[in-house]
Symmetry: C2
């Protein structure tokens, strides 16, 4: 039997425990070409809110009655595909369930590196690190000496961006909410400076003070008023990567804000939306580089691990209350041994 | 004596005749390294409004009492610089005046090609064509078969973008104001389709109908509600070049509009502000390609020529009333012969 988290009702806004239910279903036999994965860790991601929303997002919408879509890591326990062997560890879209019977295209990453805990393949060595890597390297191409600003600076993606930019020789300014996260930015993740958007009376002026030569690179995880404050202080030739829009609770209808067009023109700036899933062919490059930094002690990470699939339904909302610190994961009991 | 147009008072909004005055001043002797240019044509450009404004723009602000900054083409009549010889034709920032005594960095383009009227070096073979070329080629990189949308489609830059995109094998949709300009887009500039933003009751729906596969490239000369309508229908991987913001009359304070961040993210879109003056080292590449298309009959242009420097002060406002068609120029009497 396979325990699974099923979508029971479509949330308007933040997904809560009441929108899901836990069930059990017998495992069906594999089709030709498929693999059976036993999940060790399930991921909890901000992207889930978009997947569950009626509004247009990336990835098809999840329907009521479906297993909740989720990234997970696990071990192949059965294979009807000659490219995969039992015992291999994989990360992919395996859903919030104990076992996933999937086609090979659901596998996003084959985990070759065994020096790290498998859970990292859902965080700093998974989509978070990979998003940070390609968003920073490809969309922003920072140069040593440039000023880089990161929103949700203490988050799973943001903390990785900040440390990478510092490793590349940039001056890195974080934006985070509350004294605890701000302290983490300085003490744990090595930001040069941090601004607490919840307590700064005038964030735009604080950014101007923290970035006297302007913002060369802005890695945006929030959109909204935080971005408005940063964008006012970009330098000529600035690059902005849009990785997430955490500060905006609804995009239907589109909210309004200041128009950027003139400013982007005058500053010859580039804004680029990007999605880590588009880079799947290049994941090994990112993972290799990130793994090297971890081994050198130059890339730190935090994990918050909840025990048991029963914790999954209420976990998404933790991402929006600011209570969690680090990559949020669900550990399944089978993985304890 | 040198007749010149001087800034008399700073305009709030569109610059009018009353903001300028005509004077005459003796020509001063050249410093070492300088050249003296006799202007044949003076340019009238939307960028002038930004140069005259209090708000931040590209290029230093023009002060009251200064000769009005302007692009012009002319002939070198005296040189104290060994790189330039009398008789050579040049385009540059020579101002609204009959003669310009300038340093060599004011020269933007040396006109090697003598098969074309010199006036083209202010339009289709000057900054307009060059902006169209780099904005389309560099910022948008259109591929054959893609759908390209151009705002101010019949304008000096837009008409050039539209024809270039068509020459590259794209499907090209213009947006223009009024039946006369729309007719020009189809009959003269070869757009596949055109939308009249002044008469479309629902521009966004009209764009959706005209671009059933989405907008792959948007060359934006207007910003504002026209852009809002286009951006709703971009395809995945779309590229947007911001070349101008003609539809917005004031940026102080920044006007508001719908937030694009989520849409840019979901569509993995890129928005890039660019300024043709940044590409000065590559102008010859653009001019060579544009000149070839003109000779092949695949790049048409319109000019509207006013006679005499007295026409300059009232000319800028013609760009905003929609009355002019084609590149707006002032011919100086000396160039008639």
């Amino acid at each position: 039997m396979n325990r699974r988290v099923i979508l029971k009702g479509r949330p308007q806004g933040i997904p809560l425990a009441e929108h899901f239910e836990l069930d059990s279903a017998p495992l069906r036999a594999l089709d030709d070409g498929q693999i059976l994965v036993r999940n060790h860790y399930l991921s909890v991601d901000p992207a889930m809110r978009g997947w569950l929303s009626d509004a247009q997002s990336y990835g098809a919408r999840i329907e009521v009655g479906d297993v909740m879509r989720a990234f997970a890591v696990g071990e192949i326990v059965e294979s009807r595909n000659e490219s995969f062997v039992p015992g291999e560890r994989v990360m992919g879209l395996f859903g919030w369930q104990e076992y996933a019977c999937v086609d090979p295209q659901s596998v996003l990453l084959r985990i070759d590196e065994h020096d790290f805990p498998i859970s990292l393949s859902l965080g700093v060595l998974g989509l978070n690190g990979i998003a940070a890597y390609f968003g920073l390297m490809d969309a922003c191409a920072p140069k040593a000496g440039e000023t880089v600003v990161v929103s949700t600076a203490a988050g799973a993606v943001g903390s990785c961006v900040g440390q990478m930019a510092r490793n590349l020789g940039c001056r890195v300014i974080g934006i985070a909410g509350g004294p605890e996260k701000c302290k983490l930015c300085i003490d744990e993740f090595g930001y040069d400076d941090v601004l607490d958007y919840k307590h700064e009376p005038d964030l735009a002026s604080a950014i101007a003070r923290a970035c006297p030569d302007g913002v060369d690179v802005y890695f945006d995880n929030t959109a909204g008023p935080i971005s408005d404050a940063v964008i006012r202080h970009i330098s000529a030739g600035a690059r902005i990567a849009i990785c997430g829009t955490a500060s905006i609770s609804s995009w239907d209808p589109w909210p309004t804000g200041p128009r950027y067009e003139r400013h982007l023109l005058v500053k010859r700036a580039t804004v680029r939306g990007f999605i880590a899933l588009d880079y799947v062919d290049r994941y090994p490059e990112a993972v290799a580089r990130l793994g090297r930094w971890i081994k050198e002690g130059r890339l730190r990470y935090r994990e918050e691990i909840l025990e048991g699939i029963e914790q999954a339904p209420s976990a998404i909302s933790r991402l929006y209350t600011g209570e969690n610190q680090g990559k949020l994961l669900i550990r399944l009991p089978a993985s304890r041994g």
